[in-house]
Symmetry: C2
């Protein structure tokens, strides 16, 4: 007979039917009660084994992690905490799990231990929930943009550009590293490499995305991006997924509206579609925070925090206003900041962003109109700024507990201004001729942003280390599995 | 005022409203009629300029490729081929396009010329249509699996595994290539590399995907994969997107059912959601084939072909049956095949696959139960096969004009059999300990497949070169943009 998913069994509307369930044993109590999970939901279905008529040999093999198939009758459960259970008439062990050796025992494991077992941690409640939420959030991203008529664009992963301006790059080559071909000048002969040139892994699809936005109007990317930066922190990955919408004819205000609406939509979607998983993760976070001093605990529980973001507009604050707030702030006056804010033009550090978001505004904040010289070459120079205090139409969205979750801007659409900026910064115009073509032929105002998907998952799941929200994290010194 | 997308204007239900449209000039006829496109649809909206009251200076700047904003009244069109047009009251040139220099002139360009201008080709009708269809197909992939409760899994792009068994790999490194660090033995010291080991770009997410399927039940991946193979053909890319579902408790029959249902779903979805684009692409193909001899033209027009795939079951044929058919076929008897089929065990070449699909069955074909020694180590050995004629529960789906579009199998779930196979093939068990863990702890029957996304897009759009269905193709010698 065909088996039914646990989620469907638990949502069943009829009982007393014969059903087949397949899954993995989470626990087996009293030689009688199997908590069976098949990954379709965080909830287990209780399977009641007729232990008197089951061979001792079989009962011994019902261990945590074992794969089993049960056939039986779906009945209302007398036990607490579950609506239905299966009265098992036939049980088959599909795959054993040696209780002595299976690493995922039904007890508390450290997150570090689970990271080392990333291929098995997804069999725990927490990681099953995280990965389901991640999946639903991914889908919400696509649904949001597709419903609005955006075109999904797969920008290239391997790029011939040596500097896209967003960070250190990984090199890609098929040359034999222990016997690199040399040219006449004695340099490595990249003409012999697969692509006939030196190539890297992309740090952003924005520039290519812009060329598509200037034809299709509204586009978005959603793919892996890479940074070869030695940042061994709880917020950085060497390989992460990024979402980058780009919209022709949008200015910075439209861009902020889009980003805010988008983030609220996907969070709402997760709340609507991942109730059980988020409820579980809320409990996990509460439990985890019990060991922390009161001052370090979250002010809101997970669901409350997510709803707060939905119900409150993001606070829009110019860089100049933010500098004033920070300069007058208690930690600045008491010299508690590591980097004191003395004057306009200073780059904001994580400590400043956190102060603004977590202490001052206590809500998501959109900072905009940053000084031109601390931002990327392609950002639109503001009209009418004081000489020496030029600003660009940049925006960063800061989230409590996460920091920067979005970085974006209106793009410099004026060919001459863009070229001047590239020259001043020594960016190769020949290499980026195709990018300049967008300004040469039918240029127009346009804007976009990049959202680090794992930071969004971090926020929604209430996890605190980014390595725990991606299946197999890549970080300095670690590319396991 | 806020501008309205061309698609919405053309689908409007009321006229005589004042509207604003922004987009790019496709053509400008008689100093009066702008065909305006904004990428939201393949259709242009005609904007009728009051040329008598428009300065000569402005009229001159209305050139192919220029970005313009028009304000005017939406009225029913007197012209043929369009329901509505805009009677322009105000026209603004947003960005000029020098007619002498803009490469995308309103004339026929060769596909090769367009490939060299991949950043601009999306401004043509054909490539706009292809990229919109590609986007809609991507969404259909997600929708299909999400609606069925599959979990989307982002398997890693950078992998520490040196051989995933599916093809040649690109190396990833952050070491300085012109000054590689050496260890005491004089070898390259990969301990000093970013990840502390030699790393590559993934050729498949299957093995990692299996670990997730054995926890979450039903998963799928959809991400970029890489092959460093020097295949300069119209069907190969060095960087392509692959979809890999993996389902616990599925056997090979379930796997075939899933693949067939999935492919039919996404094609249906494209037919339902990309009518105008597919209609255009059907016309393009007809036009292209006019220059071919009758015998080389498609037997069916594009839409007819797509509907044919929906309405007919894929023909399921065992490898053994296929060999019999091929051995007795006319091209084999007349020695027209480059590789003659003499005996059971031969690997099938593209010419054989094409014969089966295009000449013999004339429909999509699922070949299954291949000889064990021409297939990958992880495939399930068939029970009860003759010694010397062992087969595995593999399947390939072959499409007319495309060849292999899907490769999959039931996986070898038995630890001992898998280990034996790995040993026989010299596959490192230590390196793949995590893969073996899925068989060590709670193993069960499972199956999955990989579908090359670009081949699907190729089939649906009727294009014939895979470089034309991905935004920026990566092929030997080419990583432009």
């Amino acid at each position: 007979m065909k088996h039914t998913k646990v989620r469907d069994l638990l949502n069943s509307t009829t009982t007393l039917q014969e059903v087949n369930a397949k899954g993995w044993v989470r626990t087996f109590r009293n030689n009688q009660f199997i908590a069976l999970n098949d990954g379709s939901t965080i909830n287990n279905i209780q399977c009641v084994v007729d232990f008197e008529n089951t061979p001792e040999e079989t009962l011994k093999r019902i261990t945590t992690g074992a794969a089993v198939s049960v056939i039986g009758t779906l009945v209302e459960s007398k036990g607490a905490g579950q609506k239905y259970e299966i009265q098992v008439s036939k049980l088959e062990i599909l795959g054993d799990s040696d209780a002595e050796k299976f690493p995922m025992q039904p007890k508390k494991h450290s997150l570090e231990f689970l990271r080392e077992n990333a291929h098995l941690r997804v069999r725990t409640n927490a990681f099953g929930a995280i990965m389901r939420v991640r999946s639903v959030l991914s889908y919400a991203v696509h649904k949001y943009f597709q419903d609005k008529g955006f075109v999904y664009v797969n920008t290239p992963i391997i790029t011939g550009a040596d500097a896209e301006g967003a960070g250190e790059m990984f090199q890609v080559t098929s040359l034999p590293l222990d016997n690199l071909p040399k040219n006449e000048e004695g340099n490595i002969d990249f003409k012999k490499d697969f692509f006939g040139k030196h190539t890297n892994l992309t740090v952003s699809g924005q520039l290519e995305g812009e060329t598509f936005a200037m034809a299709l109007g509204q586009i978005y990317t959603f793919g892996p991006t890479f940074r070869a930066e030695n940042s061994n922190t709880s917020r950085h990955l060497a390989e992460f997924w990024m979402i980058e919408p780009e919209v022709a004819f949008n200015d910075l205000d439209d861009n902020m509206d889009l980003a805010e609406d988008f983030i609220q939509y996907v969070i709402k979607y997760a709340l609507d579609h991942c109730k059980d998983d988020l409820k579980f993760l809320e409990g996990r976070l509460l439990e985890e925070e019990k060991s922390k001093p009161q001052a370090e605990r979250s002010e809101m529980a997970l669901l409350e925090k997510l709803n707060f973001v939905l119900e409150n507009n993001f606070k829009r604050v110019s860089y100049t206003e933010a500098i004033d707030i920070l300069r007058d702030s208690t930690p600045n006056k008491k010299k508690k900041f590591q980097y004191l804010i003395n004057e306009w033009g200073a780059d904001l550090q994580s400590e400043h962003e956190r102060y603004l978001v977590e202490k001052h505004f206590k809500c998501p904040v959109i900072l905009y109109d940053y000084p031109a010289n601390i931002k990327a070459f392609y950002m639109r120079l503001n009209d009418n700024t004081e000489p020496g205090r030029e600003t660009v139409r940049a925006m960063d969205i800061l989230f409590p507990g996460i920091g920067e979750i979005v970085g974006g801007s209106e793009r410099e659409e004026r060919y001459d201004v863009l070229v001047q900026k590239m020259e001043a910064l020594g960016i190769d115009k020949e290499e980026l001729y195709w990018y300049l073509d967008t300004r040469r032929f039918g240029s127009a105002t346009h804007a976009g942003f990049g959202l680090g998907f794992e930071r969004l998952v971090l926020f929604v799941t209430g996890m605190t280390n980014i390595r725990d929200v991606i299946p197999f994290p890549r970080t300095p010194g670690s590319a396991e599995f």
